[in-house]
Every structure is written in C-alpha cells, then in structure tokens.
Symmetry: C2
Subunit: 212 residues, 2 copies
C-alpha cells in the first residue's frame, strides 16, 4: 500500500516535471533527461511508469483534461441556465490556463499538431460533446434562436476558444485571456440568442465575467 502510494506520487511528479519541460521547449525540444531533472526522479522510476516520451506527453494531456473537466463538472453541478454554464466553463478553462502548469502544457501539446503520435483529438471531441449537450439545453431554455444548430455552435466554440487562448499566449503570455474570452462571448451571444434577448444576454455576460 505504501509502495502503491509512492508509485502514485512518483508518477504525479513526473507529470508535473514533464509539463514544465513541454511548456518551455515543446514536445520536439523536450528530452527525457530534462524531464528527469525537472521532476527530480530517477531514470528507472520514469521507465517504470512510461516507455517513451510520447507516453509521458499522453499522460500530461490526460491529466490536463481531468483537471479541466473537474473544474467544469463543479460548474455544471450548480443549477443555472445552460447558456451560463457555457460561459462559465470556458472562463474556468481560461483561468486554469493561467494558474495550472499541467493544464498549460496539456493544451500546448494538443495544439502541437505534429511530432507527436498521441490521440490529440479526444480532448477536443469531449469539449465539443459537452457543448452540444449544453447548447441543446440552452435552446430548450429559449436562449438560442430557432435557426441556430447546437451542434454547429459547439463545433465553432471549441476551435474559436482554442485560437483565442493560443493568440493570448503569444501576445501576452495569457495575461489578457479572460478579457479575450469575454469578447468571444460578446460576439457569440449577440449572434445566437433570439434578437429580443440580446440585452439580457449582454447583462448576463457582465454579471458572469465582470470587466477587470
């Protein structure tokens, strides 16, 4: 039992250390020995858990997605209109991208579209599935105009968010990410809510994501 717990801690240390290395130098630039240094674990310990750098990267992406989904699940557990859940889930991920190095590295790896054999799509697919569910409920709650297809909306939100966070990283090291995600919603809510609820939608956004 003690040994199992120790193995778990070692694995977690490797993931955090690897995240820091991947974030700094990317997947291609990262070496196993950098990861060992950063994590403070021995080579044998790393190879006990992971056979290759790819496997380490995959574990970082998985852990990132677990952390992000834990955040979104906490939001989804509060009773609210789905349109509010949609805004809050995206803001939560934006905030995790600022505060959590594993989330940063995991997202970075999923936008690193080559050099890497991991199944990068699955976190995107999972977010799109979640937003299809939320957008469908938002429509039933009267927050989507009749001609807005919840699946098309979900398929746009997730890539748009991806680009907004990426350019925010490039321009400001994500200092402005929450402002930029608020702007995404400013444009998107005007677009998708029934025209007679635009004022309400704008007030909702101000309430959920107050200006800095």
């Amino acid at each position: 039992m003690v040994q199992q717990e120790r193995a778990r801690i070692t694995r977690a240390k490797i993931i955090v250390g690897a995240a820091e290395v991947f974030e700094r130098v990317g997947f291609g630039g990262a070496s196993i020995s950098d990861i060992l240094d950063r994590a403070g674990v021995a080579k044998g310990a790393l190879y006990f858990h992971f056979a290759t750098k790819d496997e380490v990267a995959r574990a970082v992406i998985e852990r990132q997605h677990e952390i992000a989904r834990a955040g979104s699940n906490a939001i989804l557990a509060t009773p609210r209109p789905a349109i509010e859940h949609m805004v809050l889930v995206s803001i939560d991920l934006a905030e995790l991208l600022v505060s959590d190095p594993v989330v940063r590295a995991g997202i970075r790896l999923t936008t690193d579209t080559s050099a890497f054999d991991a199944p990068l799509r699955s976190p995107y697919e999972d977010w799109i599935d979640l937003f299809v569910v939320l957008a469908t409920r938002a429509r039933a709650e009267g927050w989507l105009a009749d001609d807005v297809d919840p699946a098309v909306l979900a398929r746009f939100i997730v890539p748009a968010f991806t680009g907004v966070q990426l350019v925010s990283e490039l321009f400001t090291a994500r200092v402005d990410i929450v402002d930029r995600v608020r702007e995404l919603w400013w444009f998107l809510l005007r677009s998708v809510v029934p025209v007679d609820r635009r004022g309400e939608a704008e007030a909702l956004l101000e309430r959920l994501v107050p200006r800095a």
Copy 2:
C-alpha cells in the same frame, strides 16, 4: 547576375524543403540534415543563406506571409464592400492552407508557441491591422452595427480563424476548412451586422462561399 539568380533559386529550394520538414515533424523535431535532404542542396549552400535552424524557420514564416498577403492583396484590389473583402481574404487563406506547403508550414510554425525564438507575433499583428482597416470601412459602409468596435472585432476574427484552421487540421487534415470558416462567418455576420441586414448578410455569405 546568373550567380545571383542561382542563389535565389537555392534559397527558395531550401525554404520549400524546410517547409515540408517543419510541417511533418514540427520545429523541434526538424534537423538541418533532414532539410538538406528534402531540399536537395548541399550543407554549404544552406549555411551561405542561413546561420541557424531558427533563421530557416523565420524565412519560412516570412515567405508564408508574403504568399498569403499576395493573395489578400489581389482580393483587396477588386472593388467590393469591405465586409466581402473580410470574408474572401479569410477564405483565400483557408484555401492556401490546403494548397500551399509553405503556407501550411509557416502557419504551423506560428502556432508552435515555444521552442522557437522567431518573432511569431508579426504575421498575426499584420492580419489584425488589415482587419481593423477593413472593419472600419465596413462600418462606414453600414455593415457593422453601431455598438461593434472594429478593433475588437479584428482582434477576435484573427484568433478565431487561427483556432478553426488548427482544429480542422487536427480533425480532417484541413479537408473541411472552408466549411468551418464559412460557419465562423455565419455566426460572426449575424453578430455584427445591423439586425435589419441579417438576411442580406446571409445571402452575401451564400454567394461568396457557396456550400460544397
């Protein structure tokens, strides 16, 4: 003169060869010797033009941006409402991302946010500047609602496009990119045009980007 022309051709071959390598394995995974093989040039020829892999990558990004801006300049030379220019410029870039390996590699390098010292922001800044100009004209032409700030719109379009093309690459190797960019504009035009021009905007999009 002949020698200058030869040097120009060699430089162009290196850029195309490097683009193919960067696209396949990313900046971190690319080696100078892979680039030499792919370009079919000698080591001395490469080092005559470029001191480091960073410099090669920077040249790929610059060439990508020249190609993309040549495309957009051809569009901007046709007399049209600015709102049409905005749509067509983005569709042109989407099509170049399918057809041109240097454009693909250059964009890929600019979304590869680490491992790389080049000034990655400048192409984004240039696109944002262009879209500020176009959105300002669109507003003067009555195509933007009074409460839409052209600068904020430009600052959203460019990252949103970036994410849409990136996720399209990840999911379909960009087979669906034009459809996804059309959806971006479907949401965005509804959002930003005056409510009484929504129908016109939808017709405009159908005309400029017919469904496949």
